[in-house]
Symmetry: C2
Subunit: 109 residues, 2 copies
């Protein structure tokens, strides 16, 4: 399967796309944290924020797996969740882009 | 040892002191969280905040142990850390107050 092979150019594009998605997602977590802290009133709110951050860190750590064997799957999740645009993938082989979009479609079902 | 026996009146005072300390400590955590979030700029800052909150929750959960067998020890820590004033203990037997202060002195050494 040609989605298994990543050329040097594709590796650069993939790394850039991966980092951009990671930056967007952490920015979204930061924004949500700011919003939650602005509305925080009680100890209950405080520990809910702790729980929120703990879970988000766990998700992010688990999701951002930069192994070429996993990248199509990782990119499809990031694309589905809106952290990765199709434009970020420009320059990857058409079958890779297709695979990312196709797998993303499966999440919708 | 008379520090082992808690009268009904002492139990009320102890509960009030315990709850007041807990409220002060969570208020302090909330204040520190607000300060940290106001200065947050990067993903590194974000995950440091997650780590800070996780550790503080762990400490608070472990420390606030409302068993009469543990209360002198718990109160001595809270007094030493500034979350419990001597005035909060007014009405407890003098030996209990002395035990709280004495144990607190040991933390200073």
């Amino acid at each position: 399967m040609s989605t298994d092979h990543w050329s040097a150019t594709e590796k650069k594009i993939a790394r850039r796309a991966f980092d951009a998605a990671h930056e967007r997602e952490t920015a979204a977590v930061m924004e949500e944290l700011r919003r939650k802290v602005a509305g925080m009133k009680s100890a209950k709110d405080l520990w809910e924020i702790e729980n929120f951050l703990y879970n988000r860190r766990d998700e992010v750590d688990e999701k951002y797996d930069y192994r070429y064997s996993q990248l199509i799957y990782v990119f499809s999740i990031l694309h589905y969740q809106g952290f990765l645009a199709e434009a970020d993938l420009a320059g990857l082989s058409p079958d890779k882009i297709e695979a990312v979009k196709h797998m993303g479609d499966c999440f919708r079902r």
